[in-house]
């Protein structure tokens, strides 16, 4: 628990799983969950480097901004997903591939 590498490995696993989810999921909301995993992995790295780099709190500010960005991104993405569902009656990203109905 006092090793920087432990946290970096956990973040690397989270990132790889998130990339896997983004690449393989068909459901739009499930793709969004993969993006959340990737953002969390990046955030974990920021906070870990902040802790092991002499408790420099700049990393915490970056973490806060990433969390706020994730909130904004989730709100807008879900609004878009619900709109797609109302128009096309599906949210599978491989079926909703046209710019117009």
């Amino acid at each position: 628990m006092d090793q920087l590498n432990n946290y970096l490995f956990i973040a690397a696993i989270l990132f790889s799983l998130g990339v896997f989810g983004v690449m393989t999921r068909r459901n739009g909301i499930a793709v969004l969950m993969g993006v959340e995993l990737i953002l969390n992995a990046a955030n974990l790295n920021f906070i870990a480097f902040s802790r092991f780099g002499g408790m420099n709190l700049d990393g915490h500010i970056f973490g806060l901004i990433v969390i706020v960005l994730a909130a904004a991104e989730a709100a807008v993405a879900l609004a878009i997903v619900i709109n797609i569902y109302n128009n096309l009656n599906t949210i599978n990203v491989d079926e909703a591939s046209m710019m117009k109905e």
Binding site: I13, G18, L32, E36, F52, L57, V68, A70, A74, Y85
Partner: protein, 162 residues
């Protein structure tokens, strides 16, 4: 004791993250995401980031995860009990994800990271607040504008077309 708890939290995070991307039931994925976010918040506490851990609980678990569950409920016919969903190109995606993991792990283990030992602070809230109001005032204001834009955009997009 703390060491055992750390490995428990780490394995909880990683295993539920695997559930998020592998489970076929969409709602189970959302619940697994809750456990992943909770585990990451626990890791933040091990990294002495008490404020970030609190924000993670409030914004991610209280906000984003609930929003995602709302999205699932609104875009599936709940009555027809077909909340399942499928993965495509799993082999190809698995190979790329594994390759990424191997590359990143090699980089992590081979790099001599700059590390400084420091004393554990009693609380980081005051320092984070001071930094937000002095050194990082401009990003703080910019993120406020972004949140306002996201608010208006989400309301506009999800409104019934008149």
């Amino acid at each position: 004791m703390a060491e055992i708890l750390f490995w428990f939290i780490a394995s909880l995070t990683v295993l539920s993250a695997a559930m998020v991307v592998l489970n076929n039931q969409l709602l189970y994925s959302a619940i697994a995401l809750l456990f992943t976010l909770f585990g990451v918040a626990g890791l933040y506490i091990y990294l002495w980031a008490d404020f970030i851990a609190g924000v993670q609980l409030l914004v991610y678990i209280g906000g984003i995860n609930v929003l995602i569950i709302f999205g699932i409920m609104l875009t599936n016919r709940i009555s027809s009990v077909r909340l399942s969903q499928t993965n495509i190109q799993q082999g190809f995606g698995g190979v790329i994800a594994l390759w990424l993991l191997i590359i990143i792990s090699l980089v992590i283990s081979k790099t001599p990271w700059y590390q400084v030992t420091s004393a554990e602070p009693s609380s980081t809230v005051r320092e984070v607040g001071t930094l937000l109001m002095t050194k990082y005032l401009l990003p703080f204001e910019a993120i406020s504008i972004l949140l306002l834009g996201a608010l208006i955009g989400a309301a506009l997009l999800s409104r019934e077309a008149s």
